[in-house]
């Protein structure tokens, strides 16, 4: 499959001496839904800033659908739509103008620009608000406005920098659905998010950046397969007097009616229930303690220095 994005040895050192990116190289296939994860200050926004020409790189190369950002910037930029982390539209302009003007910057005729603005605002449920001052929109509406604006040039590569930050779960879910649809329609998507559930649910491939370095770059499935242990929380039918000693599983006491159990990937969960049953303990319900990806993410970032994987 052709490459939507190719980054080679990308470095960024800010004027104050802060090195935000160190020799980052990665590739995103056309049509992919790619997650870019990392803790705060890891360099994700700097990387996205370089891709969208808002940050000047110190060294390295970026190619978007085969167009080098240094030698053919106009063609490279024409392929991109950006939904930044912070609101960056004129708060004193109405949504319809914001979206139509953005189309104009891509050389789209005014009539067609308004047509596309109408389509996007309707899809993102903002059509009723098209003439109000943007500053009066709610946080969720502002985020959707930025998505409507980013899609107006029909980008082949859509970059979303924490698009669902601060929006309620209902809007987040509807945004996920929408993003899946446009990805299914062929748009390559790069997503950064703090909601690891979001990355696990949406992304086929994931890269993790920490302290400016790429520490993981693989498929979501492979990443999750690398989890050796999962922790489950068990809600019990009756209160326990003490913690039973199990032969095959490690369990912890949370309170008299709640236990935590660590289960290796290779072990059967049935043996846990059999053993609990032998001790007269009945389990009412069971859930994952943490999001699986979150667990892995924490392991990678915390043990970053020891377990870095060169890609």
């Amino acid at each position: 499959m052709a490459s939507a994005l190719t980054i080679r040895d990308l470095n960024k050192t800010y004027k104050g001496g802060l090195t935000a990116l160190k020799n980052v190289s990665l590739s995103v296939a056309e049509g992919d839904f790619f997650g870019l994860l990392g803790p705060n200050g890891a360099g994700k926004t700097t990387l996205i800033g370089i891709l969208s020409s808002l940050v000047n790189k110190t060294a390295g190369s970026v190619s978007i659908f085969g167009h080098d950002l240094d030698t053919d910037p106009a063609a490279a930029k024409a392929c991109i739509g950006l939904v930044p982390q912070e609101f960056n539209f004129n708060m004193f302009e109405p949504p319809i103008e914001i979206v139509a003007n953005q189309a104009g910057y891509y050389g789209i005729e005014r009539g067609e620009a308004f047509k596309r603005a109408e389509e996007n605002l309707k899809i993102l449920d903002l059509w009723d608000k098209r003439h109000v001052m943007s500053r009066t929109l709610s946080g969720g509406m502002k985020r959707r406005l930025m998505i409507a604006r980013a899609l107006v040039n029909h980008p082949k590569l859509l970059i979303l920098d924490e698009p669902t930050a601060g929006v309620d779960i209902e809007i987040r879910r509807s945004m996920w659905k929408f993003l899946r649809e446009i990805n299914d329609a062929g748009t390559t998507i790069i997503l950064t998010t703090h909601y690891l559930e979001e990355a696990e649910s949406l992304c086929r491939n994931i890269a993790i950046i920490d302290k400016g370095e790429l520490i993981e770059n693989t498929s979501t499935r492979q990443l999750l397969n690398s989890l050796k242990m999962e922790t489950f929380v068990l809600d019990l039918e009756s209160p326990l007097a003490g913690l039973p000693a199990l032969k095959t599983h490690k369990i912890r006491w949370i309170d008299e009616q709640t236990l935590e159990a660590d289960i290796c990937r290779d072990d059967s969960i049935n043996t846990l229930f059999t053993e609990l049953d032998e001790h007269g303990i009945k389990v009412l319900s069971m859930r994952n303690k943490t999001n699986r990806l979150e667990e892995l993410f924490m392991n990678l970032v915390e043990d970053g220095n020891d377990s870095r994987v060169a890609t």
Binding site: Q102, Y105, N153
Partner: protein
């Protein structure tokens, strides 16, 4: 981007800029018209008759071109500096920076917006001046070309100020401490022939003097400075400021990290 697409992008920027100042016309167009009307009343109507003639013309007739020019200078400058700094402050300059629109189109778009506001205010002030004195036009071509050149020049200056500005204070320092004194000392209210020789020479260092005098020539047919010198200086400044503005945009000064 082909030429047609670039023109569409330019139209989008200009439309946005014109809508911006039109939407807030009470802040952008009305105040300079009121201020200039007060100048006409106080300096032209009340004090003017006591001053008598200036270069052979009624004082009111003499100051009208200068006051129109002053309104165009301050409004062209103010439009671009506030719009550009506002777009940096709210970060919506990024809308253009991520798009394929070339830097020179962004620059021309902002300049056209500044010229549009300068001319809008200039026309409004000219209409108000008709209340006080009939319009005397010696050369429409000189009048029109000089007002356009001046609006372009001060729009460019406003953009440079906007690029360097890091706070709202920074966008008012230059207009207050540089632009206003130079405008007042640029021969709006007097002919430099009235000044002692030393101050006449000092006045020649003020670029606004050349523009005001050439513009006045368009109305009255008299100027303290040769027309060719005025055009040469205006065009030279425009070229220099244009190239410098383009350099700043290319470098991403203050807009890219």
């Amino acid at each position: 981007m082909n030429t047609h697409e670039k023109l569409i992008a330019l139209k989008a920027i200009v439309t946005k800029e014109v809508l911006r100042f039109s939407r807030i016309w009470i802040q952008t167009v009305l105040p300079p018209v009121i201020t200039t009307a007060l100048y006409f009343i106080i300096f032209g109507n009340l004090i003017g008759p006591r001053i008598g003639e200036m270069d052979g013309f009624d004082y009111m007739e003499f100051i009208i071109p200068g006051l129109i020019m002053m309104a165009v200078i301050t409004n062209s400058y103010a439009n671009v500096v506030s719009s550009f700094y506002g777009s940096k402050f709210q970060r919506h300059i990024e809308e253009m920076l991520i798009s394929p629109v070339p830097n020179y189109i962004i620059l021309i778009g902002y300049i056209t917006g500044g010229v549009a506001r300068g001319l809008t205010v200039g026309v409004a002030v000219t209409i108000v001046s008709l209340v006080f004195h009939p319009l005397n036009i010696h050369s429409l071509w000189v009048m029109f070309s000089m007002i356009i050149l001046t609006a372009i020049l001060f729009s460019l200056a406003g953009l440079i100020n906007g690029v360097y500005a890091k706070s709202f204070d920074d966008i008012s320092i230059i207009p207050t401490f540089v632009l206003t004194p130079l405008t007042y000392l640029g021969g709006i209210f007097y002919s430099i022939n009235m000044l002692p020789e030393f101050w006449q020479h000092m006045s020649l260092a003020n670029p606004i003097l050349y523009m005001v005098n050439a513009f006045r020539y368009g109305f009255l047919g008299v100027s303290d400075i040769s027309l060719m010198t005025s055009y040469a200086i205006s065009i030279a400044f425009i070229i220099a400021l244009y190239l410098y503005s383009l350099h700043l945009l290319r470098k991403g000064h203050g807009i890219r990290t």
